[in-house]
Symmetry: C2
C-alpha cells in the first residue's frame, strides 16, 4: 500500500500533461473505463454484493449507471462547452467602453481527492461521478476508498489501471488510498498538491474534512454532500381519493435500499383532514410490509436506532410505526407524526435520520405548509404533489421549496437521480457545502474548472483552441 504522500505526488506530476491533453484522449479514457466496467460486470457485482449486501439487481443497475455516467462525461469533453471559452475581442476607445482583448477559459484545478460513499459502491466510488467529472475536467484523481467495500474498490482500481496502461496513459492519473482511520482522509485533504476535495458521506466526517480544507495556507474547495431530509408536500387534491396510491409510492421510496439513499423522503407535509388520517394508516401498513435488507454497516444501523429513539421522545411527536427488527443488522421501518407548529419550533424534528423513516407533518392551513417547508434546512430535493394549477399559494410553495432545495419535483419520488444535462444534485447546507455546484449530471464538471482570463494572449495560445496550455 502506497502512502498518501507518494500517491498524491505521483498524481500531481501527471497533472500538467493531463491538463493539456486533447479532448479525444480524455473521451477515449472515459469510454474505455465504461466498457471495462461492463465487461467486468459479473465478478464485480458479486464482490460488491458480498461486501455491501445491496443485492445483485440493484448493483448491476448501479454499474450501468456508472458506465453511462463515464460516457456522458466523454460526450461533455467532446462537446467542449464545459471549457466555456468566451472570446471578447478588443474594443477601441477609452475605458470603460474600450478594452483589451480578453479570452476567458477554464483551467483544471489540479489533483482532486475523492472520498467514496458507503451507499453507492460503484456510482459514488472509484469510477463514480466525481472521478469521471474530474478526469473529464483534466484533473488526476486520488480516491480514498470506503472501508465498506475495500475489495471492490481495489478491483475497480486495478481495472482502471489496466485501461490506463492499455491507452498508454500514466497509471498515476487515478490513485487509490485506503484505511478506516480519519487521519488518512485528513492527510489527503491537507496535502499541498491536492487542489479540491469531493466528498459524499456523514455530516460529522464531512465537517471535519471541510475544516481541514479551510485551514490550509491555501484553502481549497470542499464539495461535500452531507445530508438531506427531502420533504414531500402532498396537497389535498393529490391526496383525496388517492390515499392508497400515495401511501404505496412513498412507502417504497422510504424503504428503498433500506432508506440508505441521500434522496430518501424523510418528511411528509399534508393538510389535516380525514383523508390525511386514512393516508397515515395506509402508509403505516405499506411501510410495515416493505422488505428491508441489512444496513451497510454497524455505525449506520446504530445511528438509525438512535435517531428514531430521539425523535420518538420529542414532545408532540407520535410514534405511528416502530416494528421489531427481523435481524440484528436489519432495522424496522419507522413512522412518526407531528403538527406543523411543533415541526417549525423544534429543530430536532428536522434532523435527518438516515434509514427507512419518515415523519408526517400535519398542517392546519396553507400558511402552516409554507412555514414547514421554509423551516427545513438545506435539502437535495423537495417534492410538491398537486400543484398543477397556477395560483398564489402554489407559486409561494415553489418559491419556498426552491429556497431550501436544489431539485423540486412535481411528480414521482425523490429517490432516483437522473444523470442528465440539466440535473442539479446539491442544495443549501448541509445538503451541499457548495450549493451552486452539483455532484450529479453534466454540470458536475464545473466543480473542477476554474475561470482564468487571458488579456491580449499571443497567437500561439489562442491557436490551442481555448484548451488550457
Amino acid at each position: 500500500m502506497k502512502t498518501v504522500d507518494s500517491t498524491v505526488l505521483a498524481a500531481s506530476r501527471a497533472a500538467p500533461d493531463w491538463a493539456s491533453s486533447p479532448a479525444r484522449q480524455r473521451a477515449d479514457l472515459l469510454a474505455g473505463l465504461a466498457r471495462a466496467l461492463e465487461e467486468g460486470r459479473e465478478p464485480l457485482v458479486k464482490l460488491a454484493h458480498d461486501e455491501t449486501g445491496l443485492g445483485a439487481l440493484r448493483l448491476s443497475a448501479e454499474l450501468d449507471r456508472t458506465a453511462f455516467q463515464l460516457r456522458r462525461f466523454a460526450d461533455e469533453v467532446t462537446a467542449g462547452a464545459a471549457f466555456s471559452v468566451i472570446d471578447d475581442p478588443a474594443a477601441s476607445g477609452a475605458p470603460p467602453a474600450g478594452h483589451p482583448h480578453l479570452h476567458r477559459v477554464r483551467v483544471p484545478v489540479g489533483p482532486v481527492a475523492m472520498f467514496s460513499a458507503s451507499n453507492f459502491p460503484f456510482a459514488f466510488s472509484v469510477l463514480g461521478g466525481d472521478t469521471a467529472s474530474a478526469l473529464a475536467a483534466g484533473c488526476p484523481v486520488v480516491v480514498k476508498s470506503h472501508p465498506g467495500h475495500t475489495g471492490l474498490s481495489r478491483e475497480v482500481h486495478e481495472l482502471a489501471l489496466r485501461v490506463l496502461r492499455a491507452q498508454l496513459l500514466p497509471a498515476v492519473l487515478l490513485g487509490l488510498v485506503e484505511g478506516a482511520s480519519p487521519q488518512i482522509g485528513q492527510d489527503l485533504a491537507r496535502h499541498p498538491a491536492i487542489r479540491a476535495v469531493a466528498f459524499t458521506g456523514s455530516l460529522r466526517a464531512g465537517l471535519a474534512l471541510q475544516q481541514v480544507c479551510r485551514q490550509r495556507v491555501d484553502p481549497i474547495p470542499f464539495y461535500g454532500e452531507l445530508g438531506s431530509i427531502n420533504p414531500v408536500v402532498v396537497l389535498p387534491c393529490a391526496m383525496l381519493g388517492r390515499e392508497q396510491a400515495v401511501a404505496t409510492a412513498l412507502a417504497q421510496s422510504i424503504a428503498l435500499g433500506t432508506g440508505q439513499f441521500c434522496t430518501s423522503p424523510g418528511v411528509i407535509i399534508a393538510k389535516r383532514s380525514d383523508s390525511l388520517d386514512l393516508f397515515v394508516r395506509l402508509l403505516e401498513k405499506a411501510l410495515a410490509s416493505q422488505s428491508l435488507h441489512p444496513m451497510l454497516n454497524e455505525a449506520i444501523r446504530t445511528g438509525f436506532d438512535a435517531g428514531c429513539q430521539r425523535l420518538g421522545q420529542r414532545p408532540r411527536v407520535a410514534q405511528i410505526l416502530r416494528g421489531a427488527s427481523a435481524a440484528a443488522n436489519v432495522p424496522a421501518a419507522a413512522l412518526f407524526r407531528t403538527d406543523a407548529a411543533s415541526f417549525c419550533s423544534d429543530p430536532a424534528l428536522r434532523e435527518e435520520v438516515f434509514g427507512p423513516e419518515a415523519i408526517v407533518v400535519e398542517a392546519r392551513d396553507d400558511q402552516d405548509m409554507l412555514d414547514a417547508v421554509r423551516a427545513i434546512k438545506g435539502s437535495l430535493t423537495a417534492t410538491i404533489w398537486g400543484a398543477d394549477e397556477d395560483n398564489q399559494f402554489h407559486r409561494a410553495l415553489v418559491r419556498a421549496a426552491s429556497s431550501v432545495a436544489g431539485r423540486v419535483l412535481f411528480s414521482g419520488v425523490p429517490t432516483g437521480v437522473a444523470v442528465s444535462t440539466a440535473q442539479h444534485h446539491g442544495g443549501p447546507f448541509p445538503a451541499s457545502t457548495q450549493p451552486f455546484s452539483t455532484s450529479v449530471g453534466s454540470r458536475a464538471i464545473d466543480r473542477f474548472l476554474r475561470p482564468v482570463v487571458f488579456q491580449d494572449p499571443p497567437d500561439w495560445l489562442l491557436s490551442r483552441g481555448g484548451l488550457p496550455v
Copy 2:
C-alpha cells in the same frame, strides 16, 4: 439611522416580488440608476473628492465606469442567458438513459449584504458592481457604506431612492447601513434574512466576516476580495533595449492612485543581467519622480509604512528606494530587490504591501522564474511580458501564472480592470475567497443565482419562461 435588523427585514419583504420581476423592470431600474449618477456628476464628484482626495478626473472616470457597469447588467438581464435555463425533455426507457423532464433554472439567492471598499467610492460602493449584479440577479441589496466616504454614500443612496420611487419600486430594495464599528458589519452578515455577502477590503476584516458567514446555522456564500500581489514577469526579450519603457510603464502602474489599487503590481520577476541592473536604476528614478496623492486613510498609511519597514528588514532584501514623505498623509514610493531563492523561501517577501511599493525578484534561470511565480499566493492578476513565441518554457510559465491568478496579461499593466463579458476578477485565496467567481464583468451576476432543477414542472411554471416564480 435605521437599524441593521429593520433595514434587512424591509429588504427581505421586497425579495419575493423582485425575484419574480420581469427583465424589463430590472433593466429599467439599472439604466435609470446609471442616468441618475451621470446627471448628478458634478456635486457627487466634488463630494467624493472632498472625502477621499482621489482627484476629480479619476473620480469622474470612475463614475462613468459605474454607470457603464449598471447598463452592462441591464443588458445582461435583457439577454437572459444568466438565468441559464437548460431544458432537458423527458427521455423514455429505463434509467440511466430514460429520465423525467428536467428544467434547470437559476434562482436569486435573496437579500445580499454588500460591503463598500475605501478605494473605489463609486465603482465598489453603493451603486457599484456588487449592487448592480445583485439587483440584476433579482436580489435586494443592503449596503454597508465605507466610513471613508459616508457623505457620498448617503448622497448616492438618496439618488437611488429617488429613482426607485420614480419607477414605483419599493425603496427598501436598496438599504443602507453605516458605522465604523466591526459589530455593524457582523450583525449584517449574521442576519438570518441575508443570503450572501460581497466584500472588498482588508484580509483581516474579510476573514472575520467570512467566519461569521460560515458559523451561521445556515452558512451563506461569502464573496470576499482580500488582497493581491500581482506579479509581473519581464522576460529578457521584453527587457533588453526597452529598459526605460518598461520602467516608466511599471512606475506609473505602481504609483497609480498612490498604489491603492487591488491590481497594483507588487512583484517584478526578471532574469539577472546587465539589462536588469539598468532597469532597476531606471525604475528607481521613475518611481521617485511619480507624484503621489494622500492615502485614503490613516490605517492604510500606517499599514504601508509598517509593510515597507518589515520588508526592508528581511535578510537578503535590499532597499533600493525609500524616499521621504512629502506630507504626513502622503507616502514615498518604495522599491526593494531580492533573489528568487529568498523570495521562494521567505513568505514575508510575498505578503501584499498596500501602497506604492514593489519588489524586484532576480532569477538566475528559467526554473527560478517558474519557482517564483508558483510561490505566489493567490493573486488577481499575473503579467507575462515577452512570451510571444510558443515554447515549452512559455507554456510552463502560462500554466504557473494560471495556477496562481485569475487574469493573465500578456501586454499592458494590471491596473485598470475592463468591465466586459469575459472579464474574470478573482483568483485563488486571498485574492478571492471564491475563486470560481468574479466581482467584475458580466459573470459577476452568477454569484447571486443558485441553480435549481424542476422535475416534471407543471405547464404554468414553464410558461413563465424559466424566470423564478
